[in-house]
Amino acid sequence: MTSTDTTTAGKETSKPTPQMEGTTKEFYDFCQKKELRFQCCSNCKQWRHVPRLMCAECGSWEWQWLRSSGRGKVFTWTVVERPMHPDFVEDVPYAPVVIELEEGVRMVSWLSNCDPHEITRGMPVEVEFDAVSEQLTLPKFKRRNNPL
């Protein structure tokens, strides 16, 4: 399910893309508008990621897409020194990270302005949006040099 899209940089990419349907599409549609939003249960106010149809805490089917501050900390990471997927060969070494956002949710992302070998636990980060194609914008993160 890879698509061949033209990036904003005009370069061909065939990196794997999410399947744009249901709540996944809703999440990425907000990213397209440069908004990082997560589901928050309308009943018990629990934030959640990845998107679900029901609240695992209270069983409610109602939610709102609330906007995140976009600020968080590095929770854990790996440094990929040897690529496994052919579409990421040129990116090595790169560091997929798990970010813990101020709202308490965690998400997998990518740290852009930091040498993978300099990442530390709890490093403060903030979201930035990478329009990888006309159809898809990924929420990535950059190191906050002057954390408030």
């Binding site: 990621h49 990845v50 990471w77 040897r82 496994m84 997929p96 997998v108």
Partner: protein, 390 residues
């Protein structure tokens, strides 16, 4: 007391040679699975036509493909659990259930693949994760960020443990070194002629930090199978039956997302182990050896902790200084495991446990082995654990 406690047993085991490279047609796993089934049925002293239950491994050959080749004309029972490497354990539970309840008499559990010569696990793409439990989460929220392979997503958890508890690369290395020592005593092990010491482990290339090459399991071609029946039927068969004393499954929550769990170290086996030990009426200290599903080194340390062989956070010390080697506190993966025997989906862990309990493990025999455990670990931490005894 559970209705399943000590009622079913493993009566036949079979395997193909384990290889890295074959002239077989690798487009389907059917050939190695059938060869393993044939050997297991023969080992039990049964004929193919006696088999009336088949529990296929998820994603491999389906029951119909196996039955039409083996000549199983009266297939009374079949089922598959979508739990990846926990599949063999899930099938043991299913098989025990089926034979004790009378749904089938002789159930076979196969599993095999061309994991080296066919397409490799490291090369999984989005189409493959669609088939996994938890695959949609990976497809939509991991893959776009370059997090595409098991070695990557499990390395996150290893790093977390290192930061939280001070677990060191040398602790991961102790698992790799111990299992390689065991492989050298196992004629079936792919790496039997390749000794490994700590310096060699630390010098192996970094794959996905903190995982080096020798933290990773060994992609291989091969198949295994085993036959389960009731204690009563086992009396008339060829081998000393190996009793299923306890069997249980578990899943972490949420099962489809390894990285957002409230407690990132909690595995399926965390919940399954007390259930299996309870059914068997034993405690961790009664276990003579453990065959632990080992996709990567840290997942061995993690399961040892979560099962309760040691406190959470102390697994590094538990595996150090020969603690999990033959002659140590708890011999682990006495065949070399997925790391040094071959990655045959954890099916080879059952074969080894049965060999140990039959007393047929040759140079690597655990002295006076009476109780052994086998774990399975699949997808993002699905778990299964069997307590076996003679």
């Amino acid at each position: 007391m559970s209705a399943l406690q000590n009622e079913a047993c493993i009566v036949g085991i079979g395997q193909t040679p384990f290889l890295r490279g074959t002239d077989d047609d690798c487009s389907s796993s059917l050939r190695v699975e059938l060869q393993a089934c044939e050997a297991a049925i023969k080992d039990a002293g049964l004929s193919n036509k006696d088999i009336d239950g088949i529990l296929p491994f998820y994603g491999l050959s389906i029951a119909e493909d196996l039955a039409v080749n083996l000549g199983v004309r009266d297939l009374a029972y079949q089922a598959t659990s979508h739990v990846g490497g926990a599949g063999p354990g899930a099938s043991v539970a299913n098989a025990a259930n089926a034979v004790v309840a009378g749904l089938a008499n002789y159930v076979i559990i196969p599993g095999g693949w061309y994991g080296y010569s066919g397409r490799r696990v490291r090369q999984i793409v989005v189409q493959d994760v669609n088939a996994m439990s938890g695959g949609k989460t990976a497809r939509d929220f991991y893959f776009p960020f370059g997090l595409t392979a098991p070695v990557q997503w499990f390395s996150f958890i290893a790093r977390l443990h290192m930061m939280e508890f001070g677990t060191k690369p040398e602790h991961l290395g102790a698992v790799a070194v111990a299992q390689r020592k065991h492989a050298q005593l196992n004629p079936n092990a792919l790496l039997r002629d390749k000794p490994l010491d700590m310096a060699g482990y630390l010098a192996s290339p970094m794959i996905s930090d903190p995982y080096r090459m020798f933290d990773c399991s060994l992609e291989a071609d091969g198949g295994c199978a085993f036959v389960v029946t009731t204690k009563e039927r086992a009396r008339d068969l060829a081998q000393t039956p190996i009793n299923i004393l306890g069997i249980a499954q578990g899943q972490p929550f949420p099962a489809d997302d390894i990285l957002t769990r409230e407690d990132p170290f909690h595995l399926g086996v965390t919940d399954a182990a007390p259930r299996a030990f309870g059914m068997a009426g034993i405690e961790a200290k009664d276990v003579d050896f453990a065959e632990i599903y080992d996709p990567f080194t840290f997942q061995v340390i993690q399961q040892l902790e979560e099962i309760g062989f040691c406190e959470r956070g102390s697994g590094g010390d538990f595996v150090a200084d020969g603690g999990i080697e033959l002659g140590g506190k708890l011999p682990v993966n006495t065949h070399g495991g997925l790391l040094s025997e071959a990655h045959v989906l954890g099916m080879n862990h059952y074969i080894e446990a049965v060999q140990q309990l039959r007393g047929n493990a040759g140079e690597r025999q655990v002295k006076d082995a009476e109780i052994g455990i086998v774990t399975g670990f699949g997808d993002f931490g699905d778990g299964a654990i069997a307590v076996l005894g003679r």
